[in-house]
């Protein structure tokens, strides 16, 4: 009983922490996305978005998120203004 109370107030069990960290690490390993590739992907997305809207480039984030049975690519970006018409691709 005392043990249970002690456990309750302690930090999260390190076994759980390890498990969650490994879920993320292995997913990245398996997708084999290196930080370089991730940066390139981010820049490409930025390029496409900027044709349609004025965005805050600093605010942009791209992450992979692991769900129970899926992997999601989550990107967050702050929009300043949407253009009426898309800009041409390569000016």
């Amino acid at each position: 009983m005392f043990r249970a109370i002690q456990r309750f107030f302690r930090e999260r069990n390190s076994g759980k922490v390890a498990h969650q960290r490994m879920q993320v690490v292995l997913m990245h390993d398996r997708l084999d996305i290196t930080p370089d590739v991730m940066e390139a992907l981010k820049n490409d997305i930025l390029g496409v978005l900027s044709r349609y809207m004025d965005i805050d480039q600093e605010s942009m984030s791209v992450d992979l998120e692991q769900g129970k049975d899926y992997t999601a690519l989550i990107s967050n970006v702050h929009i300043k203004r949407v253009y009426r018409r898309p800009m041409t691709a390569n000016p």
Binding site: M1, R3, R7, N13, S14, G15, K16, A18, H19, R21, M22, Q23, V25, L26, D29, R30
Partner: protein, 263 residues
């Protein structure tokens, strides 16, 4: 029955590959199979001392491949079991003294007269790894419940699959049931969930392992040893027996009773 060739691998060093090869090889031989263990860790010979036959080595695996001796001349018979043999690694050679094609031929040749050919793989994922897996039809990946070992195991599983070695089994070694109860260790379920390969067995952390390597007598000779029982179960599962994973935790029942009394 056509023989099986098994490679025991892990990526990370020091997780228990050599211990596993010695014990499941001995356990299978005790069941009556003809077994040969091949130390594929060229340059870092180890299996011979774990098996206790280090002072009987004349020739090694590189000698066979280079044709310096006949195959039988390099095979050392076990001290206790007449149907168990070891082919030692070369100690003073580099890993590139052999190539995967040669290892494949050697395995095929050994399978003509043995039921089980079990290869002890070096750590790493380079040449030595490729040599060790070349002739295998089954892989056993050994990990411990530790982040670095699990990550390396995952990498190795990926490499095995891309080498079309898809018959892969997992052993979790050095399971510390005390740490597990405290919540300070990943559980077997966690690990199997992460790596998603079928589980062959769970070997407890045990001081007996060190004692047995000190003596050069594999644990499975030692009745009543917890880790030895786990290795015996693993060997039986390889042979197709259906033994529940829970029985690998030999101390499980006694432990539960003790904990019940003390809690």
């Amino acid at each position: 029955m056509a023989g099986k060739s098994i490679v025991v691998t892990s990526g990370k060093g020091g997780v228990g590959k050599t211990t596993t090869v010695a014990n499941i090889g001995t356990a299978l031989a005790k069941k009556g199979f003809r077994v040969v263990l091949v130390d594929a860790d060229i340059g870092l010979r180890n299996l011979d001392v774990v098996m206790g036959v280090e002072n009987r080595i004349v020739y090694n695996v590189v000698d066979i491949i280079e044709g310096n001796c006949r195959m039988e001349q390099a095979m050392i018979r076990d001290r206790k079991l007449t149907n168990l043999y070891l082919i030692p690694a070369a100690q003073t050679r580099e890993k590139d003294a052999v190539n995967p094609e040669q290892m494949k031929d050697l395995c095929a040749q050994l399978l003509e007269s043995f039921d089980y050919v079990i290869m002890d793989c070096p750590a790493g994922i380079e040449r030595g790894f490729k040599n060790a897996i070349a002739g295998a039809d089954t892989a056993i990946v050994v990990t411990t419940p530790e982040v670095s070992a699990i990550r390396d195991a995952d990498r190795v599983i990926g490499l095995l699959e891309s080498n079309l070695l898809t018959n892969i089994h997992l052993i979790v070694n050095r399971m510390n049931y005390r740490m597990l109860r405290k919540g300070d260790q990943m559980s077997t379920e966690d690990i199997v969930g992460l790596l998603s390969v079928p589980l062959l067995g769970v070997v407890p952390e045990s001081e007996e392992v060190l004692v047995s390597t000190n003596r050069g007598v594999p644990l499975v000779h030692n009745r009543g040893s917890h880790a030895g029982t786990a290795f015996q179960n693993i060997a039986a599962r390889l042979d197709g027996e259906n033994i529940p994973i829970e029985s690998d935790n030999h101390a499980g029942l006694m432990g539960k009773i003790k904990r019940f009394i003390w809690s």
